[in-house]
Subunit: 199 residues, 2 copies
Amino acid sequence: MSEELVLASASRIRADLLTAAGVKFSTKVALIDEATIIDSLVSEKLLPRDIADALADLKAQRVSGQTPGAIVLGCDQILECAGVLSAKPTSPHELKSQLIGLRGQTHQLHSAAVIYHSGQPIWRFVGTAKLKMRFFSDAYIDQYITDNWSTVRHCVGGYALEAEGVRLFSKIDGDYFTVLGLPLLEVLAFLTERGVIQE
Amino acid sequence: MSEELVLASASRIRADLLTAAGVKFSTKVALIDEATIIDSLVSEKLLPRDIADALADLKAQRVSGQTPGAIVLGCDQILECAGVLSAKPTSPHELKSQLIGLRGQTHQLHSAAVIYHSGQPIWRFVGTAKLKMRFFSDAYIDQYITDNWSTVRHCVGGYALEAEGVRLFSKIDGDYFTVLGLPLLEVLAFLTERGVIQE
């Protein structure tokens, strides 16, 4: 019998990606104060990709402590534009400022996945994608926020590429699953090798 | 008032991608004998990417003739592995042969989009993605076909990347939308520039 997989993330899209891939898992959310931890890691001058990795690690570690014997997958995603990090927008007003800052620029998304087993890290990966936003109008930003706020408030950067967010972009370099927040191919390769899913 | 957009494709995924991006359009399907045309183009030694382009062109042209004044988007996707083309599988048995042929290999997907207006082509693009399948077991192929045949019979190559098909792959290089069968970013950029959708 294969080992139990636990997803240590509250993100709907990550659960949807694993489900679509035919992977069986349960979900257990680690309660951590993400904003405070990010501030602390930024002040320690960690690179954005290492911040994503550290947060994914912390989530997997917490849940692994509560589920010994299980394979626990922790994930995190960080958006970086010219060295500055963006998180999920806390208001439509903040989202407008973010989009004005990102418009016409190229930013990077770092998606980290860390797997723990019985309290120990056994695998990790960080995928990075580069995305260029087109120079959309202020009127388009206002319309976009009005039409999409209820869903994009839960998204890093305030966009969902599987929805109208795709219209913000002129170029996307890198793995789509990394953009969505889970380096799925790499995770599946590990789970296959480990025997958690069929070869 | 902006021009009317017509999608000259019966593909559900293409319609879903445009709808998700917030684009308004209607659908009108061009009835063409795709298999016969592909055979003829292959015998004329056209390159796979040019076959995808020619089929997308033909679909857009046909529908444009029936909808003067509209912006008509034709699309096609061709899978090529070592110079050999694969189409949608016609039986579970054929799909098994296809997957055995593609297993462990890298293949290319060419996704063409052609836009017509009043019977004339006004824009075209072909995106190409490279995909490497892992060396999965025969048992996995059988299980995969049993579980997924009803949906993947409609897919070039017999897989849907937004579903369990992702587990067939070890590496995907190239634009995700190109893999799904519509070079969405490029189409959206044209529609924006043309004024069909908001800037």
